[in-house]
Symmetry: C2
Subunit: 305 residues, 2 copies
């Protein structure tokens, strides 16, 4: 028996919701095919050009599959074929897609033995390998789809929020921003007055998503704490953001720790126009770039034929 799934890219943080909010994208996504094998252990085959490790102990999907097998306590192995389309280092949840896809794939192979929270916990083992931190803001929307809140990591408290009909435009300028670097440049302390602004915006954003108030969503996508520091690592960030908003995007910002930038729009035509603007800015700078015009994925990791 084999199971084939697609595992979506994700946008973490959603501007003001650092470490707590994320959404799933309909594009790009990885394809993973799993098979139960008699030899204990994990066998990985990569069908892409990213040269990711095939040693399971050093592969994001691998460590998750090993943990799932151990947790299940069965004397079998899993073979996985990975066809990755979400570029590693893009800020679009590439490692989360591998980790979450592996957790869900293993679960399906093993007869749906894990709960939702167990799947997230398993997938976090992969994120730990990739980024050094057990975070869940990409994994959770990847598994569940839609927009999700991690209210708390210890104990894990996941809150699915909504799946509004919004268009998402993403540009991935091909420069390197390492998640660990993006995390290190953040200040350890913040002004209380800035924190208050931030949580006002987070409250507004959550209320906007839940009531489908697109104007409120737009007004609330403001980040006075993380973006001013991290955006320095992304060429032309301010220009892209300003031009996209002038073109009618509701708002947006850095996707995860970057370098990708995302923008939400309430109409497809706007989202397309925003994509053209993004492309022209980075083409103008001679920076290779990839643009995705897509929608919010409502299903998360799912089986495909």
């Amino acid at each position: 028996m084999s199971i084939k799934i697609k595992s979506p890219g994700t946008v973490a943080n959603l501007v003001c919701g650092f470490d707590i909010l994320g959404l799933a994208l309909d594009k790009p996504y990885d394809i993973m095919e799993f098979e139960l094998i008699d030899t204990p252990g994990v066998v990985i085959e990569n069908r892409d050009d990213f040269n990711l490790p095939t040693d399971p102990e050093n592969n994001v999907a691998g460590v998750v599959l090993l943990a799932a097998l151990e947790k299940a306590g069965i004397n079998k192995g899993i073979k996985v074929v990975i066809e990755k389309h979400i570029k590693p280092g893009s800020g679009l949840g590439s490692s989360a897609a591998s980790a979450a896809g592996a957790a869900v794939g293993a679960n399906k192979l093993l007869g749906n033995i894990f709960s939702r929270d167990e799947l997230v916990q398993l997938a976090m083992i992969g994120e730990k390998l990739a980024t050094g931190v057990k975070h869940a803001d990409n994994i959770t929307p990847c598994i569940l789809g839609g927009i999700t809140l991690i209210r708390s990591i210890h104990p894990l408290d996941i809150v699915p929020l909504a799946s509004p009909d919004l268009y998402v435009t993403v540009v991935h300028p091909q420069i390197e921003v390492r998640t660990s670097d993006a995390r290190q440049i953040l200040r350890k302390q913040v002004y209380l007055k800035d924190a208050i602004k931030q949580w006002g915006n987070i409250a507004g954003l959550v209320a906007g998503f839940m009531s489908n108030d697109k104007d409120l969503i737009g007004r609330s996508m403001e980040d006075v704490i993380i973006e001013p520091v991290r955006s320095i690592l992304i060429p032309a960030f301010d220009e892209v953001k300003q031009k996209c908003k002038e073109a009618g995007a509701l708002g947006g910002g850095i996707s995860g720790s970057g370098p990708s930038i995302f923008m939400l729009s309430d109409a497809e035509a706007t989202a397309q126009k925003v994509g053209e603007i993004m492309k022209s800015v980075y083409d103008g700078l001679g920076i290779e770039n990839y643009v995705y015009v897509t929608t919010i994925n409502k299903n998360g990791v799912e089986e495909i034929a």
Copy 2:
């Protein structure tokens, strides 16, 4: 022509939503009666024992009425009779009730000439007199009813959230905590990791209110930034909170800057029991106290016969 209104007490902050969240109470409330008079200026008559100033320049309702008259640009005056039941210094929005009541009362007398946001702006003039700060987290629920979010003060962005059917128990231990003192003991900077916990809780609380998820509301009412500092000013705070939660309250904490403590419950019997616990703790300490068992007010300031 005279207009009689009741202006409700309010609970600001709602534990994790410092400076941005608030709710209106069905009890206690002030009664205010307004009359247009030919002599320009404001005449104040207090029908209670709080000895509040009757000089309009030094009275919370007075400064709001003066501002409303000036903004309206008419050559008349307003007489107001105030019957205050919300004790000044209780942390239950006593000054906000005077300020918001005055703004709404004046507006009704003058033919509903002010917008919602203008009413809040007018009432903030009263809060400035009372506390030194133009804040709106009591005023807004007082005017609108329900649970409200102040996403931003500059520019003013008010978001009505919900009016869930929850019971509110409040205890006002008769000790003095000055809002300005309660504000001064706060640290100017906070750890980013604490701010992240706080905004996870705020996001959870907003989602809980909007989806009527009482368990989520309870889990989210946690404050790692303000409560640990301010609760020191309130005798037996930890004991009250713990016993109330053990008795089934969803959660709660300091009302505004204190000294009142509020608890939310999803059943009236629980709310009553919580009130008895509060009373017995403060009676045991020999601290005079007032307990209110009430519901969330859905209408805000409203005209009465």
